[in-house]
Symmetry: C2
Subunit: 340 residues, 2 copies
Amino acid sequence: MRAVIMDAPRQITVGEREDPRIIEPTDAVIRLTATCICGSDLWPYRGVEPADHTPMGHEYVGVVEEVGASVTTVKPGDFVVGSFVISCGVCEICRSGYPSKCIHAEFVAGFGTQAEKARIPHADGTLVATPGMPDDGLVPSLLAASDVLGTGWFAADAAQVGPGKTVAVVGDGAVGLMGVLAAQQLGAERIIAMSRHADRQALAREYGATDIVTERGAEGAARIKELTGGLGAHSVIEAVGTEESVLQAIHATRGGGHIGFVGVAHEGVQLPLDQLFFAEVHLHGGPAPVRRYLPELIQKIWDREIDPGKVFDLTLPLDQAAEGYAAMHERRAIKVMLTL
Amino acid sequence: MRAVIMDAPRQITVGEREDPRIIEPTDAVIRLTATCICGSDLWPYRGVEPADHTPMGHEYVGVVEEVGASVTTVKPGDFVVGSFVISCGVCEICRSGYPSKCIHAEFVAGFGTQAEKARIPHADGTLVATPGMPDDGLVPSLLAASDVLGTGWFAADAAQVGPGKTVAVVGDGAVGLMGVLAAQQLGAERIIAMSRHADRQALAREYGATDIVTERGAEGAARIKELTGGLGAHSVIEAVGTEESVLQAIHATRGGGHIGFVGVAHEGVQLPLDQLFFAEVHLHGGPAPVRRYLPELIQKIWDREIDPGKVFDLTLPLDQAAEGYAAMHERRAIKVMLTL
């Protein structure tokens, strides 16, 4: 089958990989309808993480081709959305709402969904079938649910967004924009998007942002304080993962407020612990337990209550994946969908 | 009046300071009945923080001598307990349960309560009168409520301790021990105290610890995992504040679990952010909002439901403060009460 391979940083090829097949009785093999490029795929692309003939991709929607003998909740022919983390769905951690920390958790990235097909282990605990075959117009939004929407939603939930709350969003990438959408859906009173890019500001406004702040770092945090009577936001979504952005989030949050922390922090990034301590905020985050939210998010998409698919501002066939990576790297695109 | 002064690291004198007096109409002046030495007082004592003829002390109980014109909730003659952070009690942050982040917050340390008297600003928002004059036997426990009990209680609350939960406590100083007591009071099913000192282990057991773990760092976290079916504790109290202890807490917590973070983190302490991210825990802490808990804690002490005062294993007159500091520094005492 055709699959995206990162031969080395900045070297994307679409080559041949062996077709996946059922290995465990809990597996499913799906034929992808669409997949996409994640901000986190840019880390190896930029050489910040290693890349050596690495299969790429962890976001996916598609049609089930085959299931293992013990799979009961999805069947061949079903259109499915899955989380970017494999989860069994039955262990104590899954049942407590943290499938992303399942005792069997594996990142789907290791399976490479920027490809024609993918094997998905623990299909019952990882995949959710849609109510039927979606119209083409719903595919981008369903694909977004696989990671970027689920992650933004988790960030807003972790930041305890709700009615009457002022929310600040650090990061204007796809996850930050989905955080804006989630905050609006969860009833936030005021949503402050922190962004310097006109196209992203526009989409943030479309998704519900009431204010835009262009300052960053300590200045950005000071501006949030200014906009909130000196107190800081009740809820802050951190969707970058650097020391600067996490400190910006910490200092933009009021004492006792909540940070939803979903920007992937890389090895070597250090946080000054005293600044976290004295800010006295709640911090919660990590790889989003997307599977927890999928049934609700799929329904909202199916009912056309939300349109997260707009975050894909460039769509290319899988064969042009290299151009997709370049466009995201050069910030010519917010997020790139790859079709099959 | 007599007062403890840290002339320089390791140089404690009990000298003369000017008597405090009412400055603002919201002030009270109290005559101290007892005060104590905090683990955090050892930082300047050990030269980790500066000390230059610094008045010391931030924990206190005593009798109100005089109040400013606008004070309404305490009056001369009242026996009072106060938080180690000044708070107004009426701002939005105080009303949300975070008096330690009050818009008027000041650390009482700046006022120096290891002294015969102290001025306490924002008396209405900071002090709580006891139901009457306490017996001498209740004084240590009421004094503990001023910081160390309130802090341990906050840690347990922030760690979402409750029935059915397994709690691990990192740090066997006075705050950690109070965390054990709070966990027991909040209904924890299992309380694992991490301690290497026989006297502290014994007190931890007395306060409700069901297990003792002597390993530290990564080994300590691994031991907690072992004791919890590989998952980690639901709730972890971090009562040290170093990189090692915070990582120990993070890795001892199950995915989606909660850390109550009350070990004072000092400038320069860095936390590897990726380890916090991928652990996917809830982290909440900082200077404890003791004032929030004081009414409840005072009542529990008054009703003799809890006896936190046992944490003081050495009592000295104020004049012998130097010996008290030395005893805590050398770990001959867990916590030292100073009487007046």
